[in-house]
Symmetry: C2
Subunit: 218 residues, 2 copies
DNA sequence: TAGATTGTTAATCGATTAACAATC
DNA sequence: TAGATTGTTAATCGATTAACAATC
């Protein structure tokens, strides 16, 4: 399969969410323009993306939902499970644990970590919290490859270094800091204030005609 | 000031985070290449963005941090406060309240809302939780323009409709649903599983040479 | 068959990077 | 002055959209 850009992967993940949202068995097929409408993109965009993962549709019938779902899972490597760690078991960390445990099974949270001894060795939503010193051992034992970082900004780089050293391959960072990680470790950043600031900008500058991110039309 | 694209606004917000991160008074000036290094972009990108908001640097001295900060605040309209509501006072909602109240003051959380009567009329981190029926009244009273949506997927569209009807101008949606809102309401989506799925993809497809989102190099 | 939709290529659009003269 | 950095334009790159022949 050809290399797929980050943008495409992101859209594929969103198509997947949209498909799971549909009442199962409600529709056996969907048209590219239906998916496009929900995603606020062009139908040709959808067809192009689906082409990239080798999906075939049928003119006048659209794409078979079940087959499409399978292709998406395969492309996103969601056919196997991924062991995830949550670092920082404060409000946000625990919220994410409950949230993810409720929704998804292929992304499986195997452990939480925190410096605070009061939080350690307790279980939240089925996930045990460990002290930071046992991070390397637990990550190896549970074969954890992904980590969600919800520690305070000041502690983020240190925690990231520990994670990288322990062999984690991808980090989702919630701390508002510009992290440094080696090239071979994937990094995604969700800085919530950035999104709010973006909203603040667009609500105070109601531009006549903007269409960028996926934050408007319709 | 010229219209600024969503991408640029996002980067401006990130520059701002980076500047606040710097020890105050530690450096009076910064070079474009220094900011660029922290953001993993090109220096010409930074200069171009700063030009867009009318910032002036001095050759061989760089940009004055304090002046730059002021320009950024002005451009992002962070010179005034924005009243924010959190809809859904579950784990995630409460985590976001604590998180934001701790960090930022121009984005000010004025109210929380929840359907669960057990959560209502209680105060979390200085923010009172109201029942959903009083949403319109409270939003009007507190002049709330932005909302963070942390309700379960099934309730998201309904809550969004209520918010729009109450006059909210921007929504940050955490529910994994494709929301429909009018064109004049700004919408940002943070679907956490999408980010994790993106990480899962890139960790299992360690492509020789990818450089998309801002999720790799260095 | 006629009509709608796919697969795919070509055209457009926007965003990023490179380059370099002006400047301190 | 020489050297480094800015402001800004031109070149490149990638992503999105439009268009349309092939197909059911």
């Amino acid at each position: 399969m050809k290399p797929i850009s980050g943008k495409i992967v992101e859209r594929l993940a969103r198509y997947r969410t949209f498909l799971t949202e549909q009442a199962p068995g409600h529709r056996t097929h969907l048209f590219s323009h239906e998916i496009a409408a929900a995603m606020r993109t062009a139908d040709s965009q959808v067809r192009r993306d689906l082409m990239a993962i080798g999906t075939q549709g049928v003119p006048r019938h659209g794409y078979e939902v079940e087959a499409l779902m399978e292709k998406l899972d395969l492309a996103l490597s969601l056919d196997r499970t991924h062991a995830v760690a949550v670092v920082g078991a404060g409000h946000l960390g625990r919220a994410l644990i409950s949230f993810l445990e409720a929704s998804r099974s292929t992304l499986c949270i195997k452990a939480a970590f925190d410096t605070d001894p009061a939080k350690c060795n307790r279980v939240h939503a089925g996930v045990k919290c460990h002290p930071m010193d046992s991070l390397e051992a637990v990550i190896a034992r549970e074969a954890i490859t992904l980590a969600i970082l919800c520690v305070p900004a000041a502690a983020a780089q240190g925690a990231a270094d520990q994670l990288v050293h322990a062999g984690v391959k991808g980090i989702l960072n919630f701390a508002p800091v510009a992290l440094r990680v080696p090239v071979n470790v994937a990094l995604e950043e969700i800085v919530i204030t950035t999104y709010l600031e973006k909203l603040a900008y667009f609500t105070t500058h109601p531009s006549k005609e903007r269409r960028n991110g996926r934050h408007e039309e319709r």
